[in-house]
């Protein structure tokens, strides 16, 4: 029997301590719950099915990734970034290596930059596919998740072809790519770009005009633009509210200023708008990939070997004494970037992913901080959840698009 006689106080924020009244029910959702996307725990105060208060509790997947970054050499940390947002590993790699390159003043060769863009956009699509599948599954549309995972396989195949790994790719390196692009990779990507718009239409057939889907998403979880800015939301959560902020446009990195694409903005700021925005983002990503494939040089260096901070080319290590010594030092001791601090942000599939690095001139960062987008976006959950129904909570968790590895780090 449920013991109603012991009210549990729910701490929502510092200003507010809610003790549930007798009519209210405290429901602990997670960390072992099928739709909290990993190990998010949400404490809900319900009256009937209406949510009075919602209090996300995080930290169940905290592994101290930032601290690990402060005890590893710069190049050693790249695989760790895979493990923060594990459904979009290449984007995490990209944010980190761009920050380190900014610190060291390295410019990756043009060809590598194009391929980084292609991989980042493929990652965005893969991540959005996971989001779409799980979000639709939470709302009860069973089949969409299987369709999206079917198409995500194609992207993972491309990753596998490129670097041998599918999930935790460890793809980018400081200075570019040290491996050559497989010769049939461009055709694989092209084939995917030809196929994928059909797949998007298939998902849209199942969801976009579906009356139940509309009823479940329209007008649910509205975030006004002002509120979105105040919460520091980024990514589709912000753009769904109609605020035009996309790191690729606002602070172009790589060669995003050379490709044409549009940033979709929502008009009502609800779950449905964020859905529409992400669907359009996938189409825009295909556009970017297609332009990149046209513009990318077919050969040329992939690694900025001229920089002293970059691992020397394998061939020279085997043939020249200087490079062999440099390689030895680079691997054993690591490279020492100049003193200073640097912040670099990329437009991750979930929002602005930033890496802040303080270097004291040693081979290990003095401080490394990850500004993970979903950690910030998750803070808007209590705001959206107030007055929502219990069933909306899963839609709201889904619409924020969190990966707990990235929230907890």
């Amino acid at each position: 029997m449920i013991d109603f006689s012991q009210p549990t106080p729910v701490i929502l924020s510092e200003v507010r301590l809610i003790t549930p009244t007798r009519r209210e029910l405290v429901l602990n959702m997670g960390p072992q719950h099928p739709s909290t996307h990993g190990v998010l725990r949400v404490r809900l105060t319900l009256e009937g099915e209406t949510v009075i208060a919602c209090d996300p509790v995080i930290g169940y997947l905290h592994r101290g990734v930032e601290k690990l970054g402060e005890s590893h050499r710069y190049a050693q940390f790249v695989p760790w970034t895979d493990r923060t947002d594990y459904v979009a590993a290449p984007s995490n790699n990209l944010g980190y290596v761009l920050a380190v390159e900014k610190l060291c003043g390295i410019q990756a060769p043009e060809r590598a930059q194009y391929w980084r863009m292609i991989m980042a956009e493929l990652t965005r699509i893969a991540s959005h596919l996971v989001w779409l599948g799980t979000h639709a599954l939470d709302i009860g549309a069973l089949s969409v998740s299987l369709y999206t995972f079917r198409d995500r396989e194609l992207i993972l195949d491309i990753f596998e072809k490129f670097c041998g790994a599918r999930l935790t790719t460890n793809m980018m390196e400081i200075g570019g790519f040290s491996r050559e692009i497989p010769p049939d990779l461009p055709e694989m990507v092209r084939e995917f770009c030809r196929y994928f718009p059909k797949a998007i239409r298939q998902y849209e057939d199942l969801l976009t005009e579906n009356p139940i889907w509309l009823a479940r998403t329209k007008g649910v979880g509205v975030i006004e633009p002002e509120v979105a800015i105040n919460y520091g939301l980024t990514g589709a959560c912000l753009r769904g509210s109609g605020v035009n902020y996309d790191v690729r446009k606002a602070m172009p990195y790589l060669l995003y200023d050379r490709v044409e694409f549009e940033v979709p903005l929502g008009t009502h700021g609800d779950v449905y708008d964020r859905y529409l925005v992400r669907m359009e983002e996938m189409r825009q990503s295909i556009r970017i990939i297609e332009q990149c494939l046209e513009q990318v040089p077919t050969d040329g260096p992939l690694m900025a070997y001229e920089s002293p901070y970059v691992i020397p080319p394998h061939k020279n290590v085997m043939t020249t004494a200087e490079d062999m010594q440099r390689h030895f030092i680079w691997v054993i001791k690591g490279f020492s970037p100049p003193k200073g601090e640097v912040y670099h942000a990329v437009e991750h599939s979930k929002g602005e992913l930033g890496y802040y690095i303080v270097s004291d001139g040693s081979p290990i960062p003095y401080r490394l901080r990850i500004r993970s987008p979903d950690f910030v976006n998750l803070q808007s959950l209590p705001y959206m959840a107030q007055g929502a129904m219990l069933a909306d909570i899963v839609a709201l968790i889904g619409t924020i698009d969190i990966v707990l590895g990235s929230v907890d780090r």
Binding site: L12, I18, I52, E209, K218, N230, V263, P264
Partner: protein
């Protein structure tokens, strides 16, 4: 004949046991279960008496709807809010006993007065069979002889329904929500949150080609550069909730 009498006694026994359970059980849900048991056995007695329509209606209305609602309410109500039924108060016990005995006496008197000595009425087995069975006979009586009472009962039920809707309007929730929202706005620590709403904003003019219908009767706005739509949020419909 002997068999059906035996069945009757068995059903009656279980039904009384169920009724006893209602009174004795300390857990209100267990009481409700006892009541269901009692009702189902009464329905079975109707069945033995070849009143199958009455039996099925007994199950649908009493066992199905009424007791489910009782259980429903019991599950929702805080145990402390329930009245104390098991206090040893002599006055209450005495009242219960007197009322119970009075009811028993009334029922016995009614049976003795009518069931054993009164006239059986126009509906015999033959007349019932002639109009096409129990159910048809019941329907014909109810909707011809007792038309007015039926209508009055319907109006009474309607009034009760409307009363329930009026009583159940959710005021408490919205009040608490308003308080919570205000607190949350303060906790944001921003100068102009929801308390000072912006006036409604319109989409900047001359940008129609950037508005794309996206489905569900919703457009999305396509921005080509970071400078567009930055003077204000691109949409004008938002209101403080």
């Amino acid at each position: 004949m002997a068999l059906s009498v035996l069945v009757f006694w068995l059903l009656a026994l279980v039904s009384i046991l169920g009724a006893l359970g209602v009174v004795v059980a300390r857990n209100p849900i267990h009481s409700a279960i006892g009541l269901v048991l009692s009702f189902l056995n009464v329905a079975a007695i109707y069945l033995v008496a070849r009143a199958e329509f009455l039996a099925v209606v007994q199950v649908i209305v009493y066992a199905g709807a009424v007791i489910v609602l009782v259980v429903f309410v019991t599950m929702l109500v805080h145990p402390d809010d329930l009245p104390e039924f098991h206090g040893r108060r002599p006055l209450r016990v005495a009242t219960g006993l007197i009322l119970g005995i009075a009811l028993l006496a009334e029922v016995t008197a009614a049976i003795l007065a009518r069931g054993l000595r009164g006239a059986p009425g126009p509906w015999t087995e033959e007349t019932v069979a002639a109009v096409g069975g129990n159910t048809s006979a019941l329907g014909q009586v109810l909707y011809s002889e007792f038309m007015l009472p039926i209508q009055l009962t319907a109006v009474l039920l309607l009034a009760a329904t409307i009363g329930a809707i009026v009583l159940a309007r959710p005021e408490a929730v919205s009040e608490r929500l308003a308080v919570a929202r205000r607190l949350l706005t303060i906790s944001l620590a921003h100068p102009r949150g929801l308390d000072q709403p912006e006036p409604p904003l319109a989409l900047p003019a001359g940008r129609d080609e950037r508005v794309k219908p996206a489905g569900g009767g919703r457009p999305i706005v396509l921005a080509r550069s970071a400078d567009e739509f930055t003077e204000r949020p691109a949409w004008g419909e938002w209101r403080p909730r």
